[in-house]
Structures are given as structure tokens and as C-alpha cells.
């Protein structure tokens, strides 16, 4: 792989991705492609959630499109998107030099640590829908959060055997920083004149409309029920990843319902509990399959 970038010119959006791929591939990570189910964060990818469980060592890196329906701003907010990209790294068990590796990856992207103030600020990570938590930090660059660094302690309600190091880079933010751009839509996407807005602005407008105005909430509720039913049926058959696909779907449908504002406070807790139960069931059958295999 060659990365085309003049030394004086900041990396384009896609160059940053290619650089990170190159960097983490050299650390022995398998470079995966995005998972083909809609999800709220890269953590939901089975390469993180399921693989964090069990005794087998594992190293992976991938880009994951992440959907946060309620963060839609019709393309009018320079910083918020309902669809954005996370770069996700998982290394199990966590290496002793995890922090140094992360800092070296920033060097590779072109953040000069002699000029920029990089800090690890307390931020405990918890995903109620995944029954997962870990301790770690927000990584700050000159006061801006550019990543989330976590040592996994529990996933799917199950304490992990080997704590993983998980790093989530917010790619748009990082690119905006590297390029010195204040509006996400002005990001240089490819170094050949295509901007982030050229690629995504229209979609942001249309999906915002879907998320807040158009999505048929009766259908969404029905789909949620269906995903839940199917997940439970697949759990009974011990097919962990197909069952987990349905869990991710349920989670995204819940996020959509939430964005449409049709979930009351008490219902909210109940929906989260239902998704968590699915995640736990999937984690359990995944783990039983791992130890048997």
C-alpha cells in the first residue's frame, strides 16, 4: 500500500484511514471491512463485542460507519452528523505499550507531539445496551476529544478473561484537526478535490428527515419485536453471530424510535433492558462455542 501525501500538505480523509490501516496492520492486526449491519458505534461490530470474550488472543482494526439518528442536524451543524466513521482497534490481551502505540499512530497521521498537547482525561466507558463497561480515557488533542481509549472489563454482562485494549478514533474530528478545517463538510476527502460534503451532505439532509420526521414508528416497533423474536430463536439454535446480528438490529431500531421521540422515560429503560438481554444471550452462546471449539 502506498500513501500519497506531500509532506507539507495535511492528509486527506481517506489518507488518514489508509495510514491507520498501515499502522495497525504492522502491529499484527487483521484489517477488517465495515460490518454490514447498521450500528451506533464500532464497538458493536462482532469483531469487538464477541471477540472480546473468551481466552483467544485477537487483534483487529477496521472502519465502521456509525449511526446516531438523534445527532442528525440536516447538514446544518458543522460538527454533528447522524452518520459518521469510527476507526476501531481492538488488541486482546491489552499490550503494555498500548498508550505508546496510540501516540505513535497520531505521529503517523501527522500530529506533531512537540507542538500539540495530548492528554489522557478520565472517562469511564459504559454501554448499557451491550451490558459492557471498561475504564480508560478520552484522548485530548489541544482540548479536543480525538478518541476514546478503553480497557474492557465486562461485555454482555460477562467479565472478560483477558482485558482488551480498545481504541476508537472519531475520524471526522481527527481529520478536521489535521486539516485545520472548521466545518466537517469542507474536509478534503481524497486529496483530489472531493470534499466530505460532496460525498455525504445530501445523505445527511435526507436521513435527518427520515430520523426525525418520516420513519414510520409503527413499522419500527414491529421490526424491533421481530428482531427480538428472531434473536431469541437463533440463540436457542446456538448460532451466535447470526443471533447477534438481530441484537444489533434491535439496538439500531431502538435508536431510531428514540430519535422520533416516541419513547417515554420508563419505556426507554425497558427497551435498553431488552436489548441488553439479547446481547447477554448472544455473548453466552458465543462463549460456550469458543470454549468447546
Amino acid at each position: 500500500m502506498t500513501v500519497h501525501s506531500a509532506p507539507t500538505r495535511p492528509k486527506s480523509f481517506q489518507d488518514i484511514i489508509l495510514t491507520l490501516h498501515d499502522f495497525w496492520a504492522k502491529q499484527g492486526c487483521v484489517i477488517l471491512q465495515p460490518y454490514d449491519v447498521e450500528m451506533g458505534a464500532g464497538t458493536f461490530h462482532p469483531a469487538t463485542t464477541l471477540r472480546a470474550l473468551g481466552p483467544k488472543h485477537w487483534r483487529a482494526a477496521y472502519v465502521q460507519p456509525s449511526r446516531r439518528p438523534s445527532d442528525g442536524r440536516y447538514g446544518e451543524n458543522p460538527n454533528r452528523l447522524q452518520h459518521y466513521y469510527q476507526y476501531q482497534v481492538i488488541v486482546k490481551p491489552s499490550p503494555a505499550d498500548a498508550q505508546e502505540l496510540l501516540l505513535a499512530s497520531y505521529d503517523a497521521i501527522g500530529i506533531d507531539r512537540r507542538l500539540h498537547d495530548i492528554r489522557f482525561v478520565e472517562d469511564d466507558w459504559e454501554s448499557p445496551t451491550l451490558g459492557a463497561w471498561g475504564l480508560g480515557w478520552e484522548v485530548w488533542c489541544d482540548g479536543m476529544e480525538v478518541g476514546q481509549f478503553t480497557y474492557f472489563q465486562q461485555v454482555g454482562g460477562i467479565p472478560v478473561v483477558h482485558p482488551s485494549f480498545e481504541m476508537t478514533y472519531g475520524l471526522e474530528r481527527l481529520a478536521m484537526y489535521v486539516q485545520g478545517v472548521e466545518n466537517v463538510y469542507n474536509l478534503d476527502f481524497n486529496g483530489h478535490g472531493v470534499t466530505y460534503g460532496d460525498v455525504f451532505l445530501r445523505a445527511e439532509r435526507d436521513y435527518s428527515k427520515l430520523n426525525f420526521e418520516l420513519a414510520n414508528t409503527d413499522i419500527l416497533k414491529r421490526h424491533f419485536e421481530d428482531a427480538e423474536t428472531e434473536c431469541n430463536a437463533l440463540v436457542a439454535e446456538l448460532v451466535a453471530q447470526p443471533a447477534y446480528d438481530q441484537c444489533i438490529k434491535a439496538s439500531h431500531l431502538f435508536n431510531l424510535l428514540d430519535a422520533r421521540g416516541v419513547i417515554s422515560v420508563t419505556e426507554r429503560a425497558s427497551y435498553i433492558g431488552r436489548v441488553r438481554n439479547l446481547a447477554k444471550a448472544c455473548a453466552e452462546i458465543w462463549l460456550s462455542g469458543e470454549s468447546n471449539g
Binding site: 499490550p95 512537540r114 498537547d117 475504564l135 480515557w137 489541544d142 482540548g143 482485558p163 422515560v265
Partner: protein, 689 residues
């Protein structure tokens, strides 16, 4: 003496846990190393390390224990317990008669060996608020991954094992300025070399450097830093090599409410707000970098300014959006928000607060317009809970409602909403505007009434709805504004709630070093037309507080006047005379099964001292009648204290239990009159001393 130095080096420790982590380190070492005469020299903490240096004796002195243990016939567990207590084995025991006797000789133990055997187990239990496992740690947990330990006794490594880490003499410096590792031989060398490697180890020095550095930068622009000790502590824990810097806030954002700007700066970014020479918010912020950058921080400042722009742009988005919707239009949304499952929605709450605020405004004798303003403010007080800004910054609830209402309903209603959560803590101010007072009181009273009605009262340890704070808020608003209100009707005459508030008042007085026993005394005093004896009889059948005064301002006036009186010689003696009289009355009343409440007869007074007491008490009662009405309590207590020589003379000269029944009854009636005069003011039996 030997120098012991211990550094525990890890990945970044959350700022709020560093000082307590170091304190626990000291506590553990002080306890475990007590046999070595542990004496702390210095304690250090920072983003990646906690450390201490101490003086220790060179060895644990030899010791001999000779102690009689359990009987030889005692159960095995008793003997096992005895051995465990002394760390002894069966072989150390001898038998003397029916008893086991321990004779244990412990030879002197070198300090290093003792540290090595005793310290690691205790250190592993250092209580972090949250701790974790990592890749190499197995079951060992620490606040974040542990990376190194230095353990030196007079420069020599004392090998310690904590989880996966073995101690040595190396540590690491600042990630950019001097990563290391490098070796050290003493605490002084450690501190010195860390400085060379870009780390100031002493938290006090870092804090000072930040504070003076920011102040100097601000002063150069004729500005000053808004004091924030908590934030200063936090940023001290975020940097190893503090470099204070100043950034600019775009003028476009200076018309946002300062609370919005400064909360975003503080919570999200750990920035300090600045003030101009007149104390107004200045378009600058101060912050601390962890890097002496080659460009003097230009890129860091530019980056931080950019982040703040994005943050404030988001705040402006919510501000503009919120201003498009009148607060009234948000009320239906409150119907969907449950305040508490048993108490109902925020909308129902708002309606109750509205009505109560209007009622309180009427009680405070405000005019019809003002009463309506209080009702409006009460109704809209919770509407900002569904605004975008409060959704983003919950800490701004009330404040935002105040800004929005000021625009739509004027400064009076807006101000009342803005302050209706006050006082939020002991150091927070109370509202002073009459309408704001009505709304703030209504908010707290409604919470107290509803939770008490549902039986959700605070327990010893738990007060999830902050009812104690609400009660204290009610007390402070009433007292600090001198509001003359009868509290009980405002509490729906809930006697347990009244007791709860009086209890908070008692605790408040105690906290202020005032005499809360006097509060108990006046509580059942001045309001009563009842005598002590009547009260005592009746109180067994009824709630005591049915008789208690519920005008807090009057209660406190009394407490203050009586505190002054009881500080004088006359006051103390009057109290003694009163207690003696009340005691005699109680004993004689019980003996005779009757109360001595009739008028004493001057003609039946044979002694000069009883006549003079009678006449003086009558004179005092006549004089104090009007002064009591006017609440001129200082004069009342001076009058009362003037009885002192008369009651003293009475007890000196007069035999109460005279052989003649009429004389005895008359003297008891006189004592009852005296007691009645004094207890117009308070139930002095409750006062100590």
C-alpha cells in the same frame, strides 16, 4: 534513621482520585511500617504517580512475648485464635498448670526484610474508587495499569511485587520532554531528575505555578481569573509540566448568557473564565497545557480556541432554537415527564407550585399583580427542563428558564424562575425579591409535602430526593428574609414534616455554634397559653408540636434574646430559681393530684420575701405584656432577669411546705405565678445548666 522512598507509577490516574490515593498510600505505610517508627517526610501525587518519602528505623527491634493463653481444656478454636493473634506456632507454647503460656522471642529484623514481607499485601488493597484488570494483571487490580515501582531504602532497592510489577530504581518522565526511563537513588534525586525530565512531582508547586502563571497572563491584559479552587485542583491533576496559556473567545459568543459560556468552558474544557477590571466577563479564557511547545503554544492556543468555538456554536444553536418556542408552549411536554412515580408528572408539579406561590405571595401581602406574577413564574419554573440547552447542560436548569422568561415575561418573572432552586447549598445565596421568595419557597414546600405524604422520608443514610436540603432552604429563605409566616398551614399541617424542619433548624443552629437547647425551650414556650404542667399532661395524648410556635423568625428572636440573658449572672441564677420552683411544683402537684393555678392571695403572705416576690412578678408581667406583643424580647428578658434577687430571697427566707394548708397552697400558687411569668418566654426545663 534510614530514608524510605516509594513511587508507584501507572498510566493516567483520574485527577479526582490522585490526592486520596496518595493519602491512602501514606495511611497504609504508616500502619504497616509502624514497627519501624514510620515518620512521613513528603507525599507526592500527579497524573501518573503517587509517591512518598519517610524516615524509618534500621530494624524492627527484637521482642519477647510472654503471655498466658487459654486453658488447656479450652476448645481447639480458642487456642487457634490465640496463636493467630500473636502470629505464633504451637511450638512456641508451654504448659503451666492448666494454661497454655506463650513464650515467643522475635529476633530483630532488618527494615528491608520487614518492608518486603509486610508491605506488598497491604499496598495491593489500596482502595481506589474504581479499579481494573489489564492484559498482564491476572486478578490483580489497580486504578489504571500499573507500570513501575520504585522502592528504595537508603538508596538500595527493596524488592516488592505488586501484581505483575517488580520494584526497582527506575521511573519515567514527561512523555515528550523526557520519557526516560532513568534510575534514581533517593527521594531528592528522584524529584530533581523528574524536573529535568519535564515533571514537577510536588502537587503544591504545580498548583502554585498554574495559579500564578494564569494570574500573570491575565494581568498583562488588565484582566483577572475568576477564582475556582475546585477547577484548579482538577487541572493540577491533569498536567505534569504545567504551562498556563490564554485564549480568546470570539466576540460573536459574548452575547450568550455568561453561565452558558462558562459552564461549557469549565465542564467540557477545564478552562478558567476571566473578568475585566469592572468584574464583567472578558472575551478570554485561561487554561493549562502539559507541554512547553516549540512555538510557545501558538498551535495549542489555536486548537483550544477552535474547540471552544465549536462548543459555543453548539450552545448558540440551542439558545437560538429555544428562543423560538415560548415557555408556555413547552408545558404540554411536561405532562409526559414523570417527576416521581407516586407523585406524578412535572406538569402537575408545576401547577401545584404555581398555586402555592400565589398563596404565599398573598400571605406576604403582595398585591394582585405580584400574586399573578408569582403564579406565572411558578407555572413556568420547570418548563426549561425540556429546552435544548438544559438537555445539553442540566446544571443550567432554572438559569435558562430565567433567561427565556425574562425575554417573554419580564425581569421579575424571569428572576423568580432563575433563583427558584436557590439556595442549592449552604454557601449559596437565598432569593431576596418577594416574588422570587414565593416561588422558591413553593418549589421546596411542594417537594417536602408530596414526598412526606407518600412516606418517602429520608432515612439515616439515604436522602435521595434531597429533602434535607429542601428543608434547610425553607428555613434559610424564611430567616434570612425575616418572613413572618405560620409554617404549619404551609405544610398542610403535616406534623412529622414540621418536626423534620425543626430538626434541620436545630442542626443548623448547632452547626453555627448556637445553643439549640434554647430552641427546644422556646419552641414550646411563648406561643403557649398553656402552663408547663398542662402541657406535660396534654402532650401524652396529642402531638407535642400542636403547641409549638411555627413562626421561625419569632423563634430565632427568642433564641437570641435568651442566649444573651443566659450569658448573664442574673440569667443563670434566674434559671436555677426557675428550675427549683418548677421542681417543687411538679412534686407537690403529683403528690396532691392537683394543679396550683389559682391567684395567690396577698393577705395570706406572712413573709416579706413572698410579698415582694409576688408584687415584683406582677409588675414584670404587666410590663412585659406589651413588650411581648411588640416582640421586644431584649426588654422582656431584662425584666425577667430582674426577678432573680426576689426568687433567691424567697427560697432563702420562706418555707414553701408550711404546716398551715392555706399558707402552703398560697405559696405554691405564688411559685406557679412565677413559673408562669418565666415560661411566657420558654420552657426553661429544656435548657441545660
Amino acid at each position: 534513621m534510614a530514608e524510605f522512598f516509594l513511587e508507584i507509577f501507572s498510566e493516567e490516574i483520574p485527577a479526582r482520585m490522585q490526592a486520596s490515593g496518595a493519602a491512602h498510600l501514606e495511611g497504609i505505610c504508616a500502619q504497616v511500617l509502624k514497627p519501624l517508627g514510620f515518620k512521613l517526610g513528603a507525599l507526592y501525587y500527579g497524573p501518573r504517580r503517587i509517591a512518598l518519602k519517610a524516615e524509618l528505623a534500621g530494624e524492627v527491634a527484637a521482642s519477647a512475648v510472654a503471655e498466658r493463653g487459654p486453658r488447656t481444656s479450652a476448645p481447639e478454636q480458642a487456642l487457634a485464635g490465640f496463636l493467630r493473634k500473636h502470629g505464633a506456632a504451637r511450638e512456641d507454647l508451654t504448659q503451666e498448670g492448666d494454661f497454655w503460656v506463650l513464650n515467643k522471642q522475635s529476633p530483630a529484623q532488618p527494615a528491608a526484610a520487614f518492608i518486603q514481607s509486610a508491605l506488598p499485601e497491604a499496598l495491593a488493597k489500596l482502595p481506589w474508587p474504581k479499579s481494573m484488570r489489564w492484559g498482564a494483571s491476572g486478578d490483580f487490580t489497580w486504578v489504571r495499569p500499573l507500570r513501575g515501582i520504585i522502592s528504595l531504602l537508603d538508596g538500595a532497592v527493596v524488592p516488592l511485587q505488586l501484581g505483575p510489577v517488580t520494584s526497582g530504581n527506575e521511573t519515567w518522565g514527561h512523555r515528550v520532554h523526557g520519557p526516560g526511563p532513568f534510575a534514581v537513588s533517593s527521594a531528592a534525586v528522584w524529584e530533581e531528575k523528574l524536573r529535568e525530565h519535564g515533571v514537577i512531582a510536588d502537587p503544591v508547586e504545580r498548583r502554585e505555578k498554574i495559579a500564578t502563571g494564569m494570574a500573570a497572563l491575565a494581568a498583562a491584559q488588565t484582566l483577572s481569573v475568576a477564582p475556582d479552587e475546585g477547577l484548579l485542583d482538577e487541572v493540577t491533576g491533569l498536567v505534569e509540566w504545567p504551562v498556563p496559556l490564554l485564549g480568546r473567545i470570539d466576540d460573536d459568543f459574548m452575547d450568550l448568557p455568561p453561565e452558558v459560556r462558562e459552564l461549557s468552558m469549565k465542564i467540557n474544557q477545564k478552562y478558567f473564565a476571566l473578568r475585566d477590571a469592572d468584574g464583567r466577563p472578558a472575551p478570554h479564557f485561561a487554561f493549562v497545557a502539559n507541554l512547553a511547545a516549540e512555538d510557545d503554544g501558538r498551535a495549542i492556543i489555536a486548537g483550544n480556541e477552535r474547540v471552544l468555538r465549536a462548543r459555543l456554536a453548539d450552545a448558540r444553536h440551542f439558545w437560538d432554537l429555544d428562543l423560538k418556542t415560548p415557555l408556555e408552549d413547552l408545558l404540554p411536554k411536561l405532562e409526559k415527564i414523570t417527576f416521581h412515580a407516586k407523585i406524578g408528572t412535572q406538569h402537575q408539579r408545576a401547577e401545584r407550585i404555581s398555586k402555592l406561590a400565589g398563596d404565599i405571595a398573598a400571605l406576604l401581602q403582595l398585591d394582585a399583580t405580584a400574586q399573578q406574577q408569582a403564579r406565572t413564574a411558578g407555572l413556568l419554573a420547570k418548563a426549561d427542563l425540556v429546552t435544548g440547552m438544559v438537555g445539553e447542560f442540566p446544571e443550567l436548569q432554572g438559569i435558562m428558564g430565567g433567561y427565556y422568561a425574562t425575554r417573554s415575561h419580564g425581569a421579575v418573572v424571569g428572576g423568580a424562575i432563575s433563583t427558584h432552586y436557590q439556595p442549592k447549598g449552604p454557601s449559596d445565596a437565598v432569593p431576596t425579591d418577594a416574588i422570587a421568595i414565593a416561588v422558591a419557597l413553593a418549589d421546596k414546600l411542594d417537594t417536602l409535602i408530596r414526598f412526606f405524604a407518600e412516606g418517602e422520608k429520608p432515612t439515616g443514610s439515604g436522602d435521595p430526593y434531597a429533602l434535607r436540603r429542601a428543608a434547610l432552604g425553607v428555613i434559610r429563605i424564611i430567616l434570612e428574609n425575616g418572613l413572618r409566616l405560620n409554617l404549619k398551614p404551609l405544610l398542610n399541617n403535616d406534623s412529622s414534616l414540621f418536626d423534620f424542619i425543626i430538626e434541620r433548624l436545630r442542626i443548623k443552629l448547632r452547626g453555627e455554634g448556637k445553643r439549640f437547647d434554647i430552641l427546644d425551650a422556646v419552641l414550646y414556650g411563648p406561643s403557649g397559653n398553656t402552663t408547663i404542667d398542662q402541657l406535660r399532661i396534654i402532650s401524652e395524648q396529642y402531638q407535642r408540636n400542636a403547641f409549638a410556635d411555627d413562626d421561625l423568625v419569632r423563634l430565632i428572636k427568642w433564641v437570641e434574646a435568651l442566649t444573651v440573658m443566659l450569658g448573664t449572672e442574673d440569667g443563670k441564677n434566674l434559671l436555677a430559681g426557675y428550675k427549683r420552683a418548677a421542681n417543687i411544683l411538679r412534686i407537690e402537684s403529683e403528690k396532691d393530684q392537683k394543679l396550683y393555678s389559682g391567684d395567690p392571695d396577698l393577705n395570706l403572705m406572712t413573709e416579706e420575701a413572698e410579698k415582694r416576690l409576688y408584687l415584683h412578678v406582677n409588675a414584670v408581667m404587666a410590663k412585659t405584656k406589651e413588650e411581648l406583643w411588640n416582640e421586644n424580647y431584649e426588654s422582656v428578658v431584662i425584666e425577667l432577669a430582674s426577678i432573680r434577687p426576689y426568687i433567691d430571697a424567697f427560697f432563702e427566707k420562706v418555707t414553701v411546705n408550711a404546716p398551715e394548708p392555706e399558707l402552703r397552697r398560697n405559696r405554691l400558687r405564688l411559685l406557679a405565678r412565677f413559673v408562669g411569668a418565666v415560661q411566657q418566654v420558654a420552657d426553661f426545663t429544656k435548657i441545660e445548666g
